[in-house]
């Protein structure tokens, strides 16, 4: 797909892990995009205004050529297929499956357990417990599984020595504002090594939410 005059808009909130994955991918693919900021801490995605734009009321949403795409993994796969420059998945189906399993360990094995919705529903049942206590057993389980995968298959980065989609998922899973206060990276040495390598890459640079106009 030609990138000239391509309109890409990302519905996002800086610092939050899920939209950050997509923003990293767009930067790795050297794609220009317009960010549209949705105030996630204030649940703005549930507002009437946002629901006119995106009836699914989900962030991240990628608007590309007038189409609305949701779910960071679906968006990642779309970008990888439509913009082949700077490949972010290995060649063989088996290696791709390993990279995907790392992404999914974050997407379904870690992220759901620090989502504000999760806290809301748990607090309906257990009131005198804080977020760290709620999330800790689940996050530990997920990060331990991810550490095992990266121990086995990682090198400089999550999978070998090339940056892949797995890094775009792994990095915000630690550095994201919605999760960093809940996790101790020192517990997961294989992940720590990769995160520190990714700290050096400009495409992974943290953007503070206050920088959102």
């Amino acid at each position: 797909m030609s990138t000239s005059r391509l309109a890409i808009r990302l519905y996002t909130y800086r610092g939050y892990s899920a939209p950050w994955r997509v923003s990293i991918m767009l930067k790795l693919k050297q794609l220009q995009f317009q960010p549209f900021f949705v105030n996630l801490p204030k649940a703005e995605q549930l507002s009437n205004m946002y629901s006119q734009i995106n009836p699914l009321q989900i962030v991240p949403t990628l608007e590309i050529n007038g189409q609305l795409l949701h779910e960071s993994m679906a968006i990642a796969e779309y970008l990888e297929e439509e913009f082949p420059r700077n490949k972010l998945l290995p060649k063989s189906p088996l290696e791709k499956a390993i990279v995907r399993s790392m992404c999914e360990t974050v997407n379904s094995g870690i992220h759901p357990y620090h989502a504000s919705r999760f806290y809301k529903y748990v607090h309906n049942y257990v009131s005198d417990i804080n977020r760290q206590e709620i999330s800790e057993p689940f996050l530990d389980r997920g990060f331990t599984a991810l550490n095992t995968l990266v121990e086995k298959h990682g090198g400089d980065y999550a999978f070998g020595n090339q940056v892949t989609i797995a890094d775009a998922f792994l990095y915000p899973a630690f550095r994201g504002d919605d999760v960093s206060y809940l996790v101790n990276l020192d517990k997961y040495p294989a992940l720590k090594k990769v995160v520190e390598n990714l700290d050096q890459l400009p495409e992974f640079a943290y953007e503070h939410p206050d920088s959102q106009g």
């Binding site: 796969e77 390993i98 360990t105």
Partner: protein
């Protein structure tokens, strides 16, 4: 003689159920290995190598590689076994099918598993699993209904079976059986579900048709 794929599965595991459907649709001959989640077999030292994330499903490839995560496994099978393709060619439609699968995979299923219940039950004696899941998943079922309204034909996306259907049936079947989902509240989900569940590839994959069903 070529070795078969081995699928580590539990009859009632929704995530395993998805892969059983995929394998049936693609007519892939595989060897099931049953893991009893209720007795904690997934956590035992004996299964440490076979189940690297202490969960099902796990797919063992003859060359020794072990794949986990149902979405990653499904994408692998769709690519390597091209008969009965489960992802459409059109990139945007493909993204929508994947988005639908992920709504279930990461937006719904993580909130209804045994680990979560067992943890909460440590704090609350009379925890109502059914009520909790109904509350947590209510808006997601509404989203699923919206997505289907936009995209459905006979099945989730048009008139061809896609990966979305392989995720929809286990999610809905489990919700009806275990969490008292009133599917009549979601007429499009109901219609698509009814069109799918009695197809032989889907029927043979369901929990009560599994050799380890109790």
């Amino acid at each position: 003689m070529q070795q078969k794929l081995k699928l580590y599965t539990y009859f009632r595991s929704s995530t395993s159920h998805r892969i059983r459907i995929v394998l049936n649709l693609k007519e892939i001959d595989y060897e099931p290995k049953f893991v009893n989640l209720l007795t904690g077999e997934h956590k035992s030292e004996d299964n440490k190598e076979e189940l690297p994330n202490q969960a099902v499903p796990a797919l063992h490839i003859p060359d020794g590689t072990i794949l986990i995560e149902s979405m990653a496994i499904a994408e692998y099978l769709d690519e390597v076994y091209p008969q009965k393709k489960l992802l459409p060619q059109d990139p945007v439609l493909k993204a929508k099918v994947r988005g639908f699968c992920e709504l279930i995979n990461s937006g719904m299923h993580p909130y209804q598993n045994l680990i979560l219940f067992e943890w909460i039950e440590k704090y609350i004696e009379k925890f109502d699993r059914v009520e909790f899941v109904q509350n947590v998943l209510k808006s997601e079922f509404q989203t699923m209904e919206k997505l289907l309204l936009q995209n459905h034909g006979k099945y989730s996306f048009g008139d061809e079976i896609t990966l979305a259907d392989c995720f929809l049936v286990p999610q809905v079947m489990g919700a009806i059986a275990r969490f008292k989902l009133d599917i009549s509240l979601f007429p499009t989900i109901q219609e698509v579900y009814n069109n799918l569940k009695d197809l032989p590839q889907f029927y043979k994959a369901q929990p009560d048709q599994q050799p380890d069903f109790k």
